[in-house]
């Protein structure tokens, strides 16, 4: 993932990890990768990773087991909420743009319905960093 260095990086990691849990990239009940591995994978400071994982524990998306490590929650309601939460920022951005273009709600929703099929993962023109 690419970071926006203008914003605290730990918060961007919280969003990224929340997305991974919400989408099932990190499946429910599975072990969360180690701080060291995440730091190496993302090219980011281990303390920053640690701070983001502590936040996941605070929001109960991850649970620390004393000796076995850190695990993704098995609470499906929380995971569903994480998935929606990750989508919400994108939805907010779209709503703001649609309003700026003077679309009303019906027109904006109709456009989403019409464009829905374009977002298939096999379509390279719509692949984003989120799919990597």
């Amino acid at each position: 993932m690419d970071f926006d260095p203008g914003q605290p990086i730990w918060l961007q990691l919280v969003r990224e990890f929340t997305r991974r849990i919400g989408t099932g990239d990190w499946p429910a009940g599975h072990r969360v990768p180690s701080v060291r591995n995440l730091a190496a994978e993302l090219g980011v400071n281990p303390n920053t990773v640690q701070r983001a994982l502590a936040e996941l524990e605070r929001t109960r998306l991850a649970v620390a087991e004393r000796t076995a490590g850190r695990f993704v929650t098995t609470d499906t309601a929380l995971i569903a909420e994480a998935q929606l939460g990750s989508a919400q920022a994108a939805a907010d951005a779209y709503v703001a743009r649609a309003r700026g273009l003077r679309l009303d709600q019906d027109a904006a929703l109709a456009l989403v319905a019409r464009r829905w099929h374009v977002g298939s993962p096999t379509d390279p023109s719509t692949t984003t960093q989120e799919n990597r």
């Binding site: 260095p5 605290p8 060291r36 281990p46």
Partner: protein
């Protein structure tokens, strides 16, 4: 374990003739962090690192490395990567590894060989046949293969291409012991935004400001790179 900070510097001064390279510098750094050291040319970065590394003995004020003044005890804890080549041209990486093994009791030769291989360098080739980026990687591998408590890396990514920079920074991230302190001096701020978790800005031989990297971003609403540019556009107050 001592509770002294990894690095405690008080009122540190060093002059070169009429020029004050360091002018009453105060700085405390704790272990377990990767600290980015920023500053314009001549702001005192290299002088500071050399004093802490025990290579410059003439200074005023105090520099304590885990409670020890620079000397044999502190040198045993500090791995210093200078900004210039420190290895003879005619030796191979393999020979350089054995030289390091002779010099430093905490040097891990197996780790150095593994790192050199990982960085894609043939250890049998003499250094003069390597590119600048490859030589910098060899020197970094040597410096990171000491089991030191403090690593001082002076411009480890300057003068190499962006791909090599990324490899070098990943190496620093994956090789460092979480209980150690790593100080990286660089003017390539954008490249180490995510690698460092703390930043120190020097100007005219003093600390302009220092702090947690994400706290600085939150407080100023900008990247460290932007903060540096904004800060250093303003003239020095005299």
């Amino acid at each position: 374990m001592s509770t002294a900070p990894a690095l405690e510097i008080r009122n540190l001064g060093r002059r070169y003739g009429p020029i004050a390279a360091l002018d009453g510098l105060d700085l405390t750094l704790d272990a377990g962090r990767i600290v980015a050291l920023f500053g314009e040319n001549g702001s005192g970065k290299t002088t500071l690192l050399k004093i802490v590394a025990g290579l410059l003995s003439e200074y005023t004020g105090e520099a304590l490395i885990h409670g020890h003044a620079p000397g044999p005890e502190s040198k045993a804890m500090v791995s210093f990567l200078p900004d210039q080549s420190f290895l003879p041209d005619t030796v191979s990486a393999r020979t350089a590894v054995s030289m390091f093994g002779d010099f430093f009791a905490d040097f891990d030769a197996a780790r150095a060989f593994a790192l050199i291989a990982e960085l894609g360098i043939d250890a049998h080739r003499t250094l003069k046949t390597l590119s600048k980026g490859q030589r910098e990687k060899v020197q970094l591998a040597l410096a990171m293969s000491r089991r030191a408590r403090i690593y001082l890396l002076d411009e480890p990514i300057s003068g190499v291409d962006p791909a090599a920079r990324e490899v070098i920074l990943r190496t620093i991230l994956t090789q460092y012991d979480p209980g150690a302190l790593v100080v990286i001096s660089t003017h390539l701020i954008a490249d180490i935004e995510a690698v460092a978790d703390a930043a120190v800005f020097l100007r005219a031989g003093r600390v302009l400001f220092a702090g947690d990297a994400d706290d600085l971003r939150a407080r100023h609403g900008m990247s460290l790179d932007r903060l540096f540019r904004t800060t250093y556009q303003n003239p020095v107050r005299s």
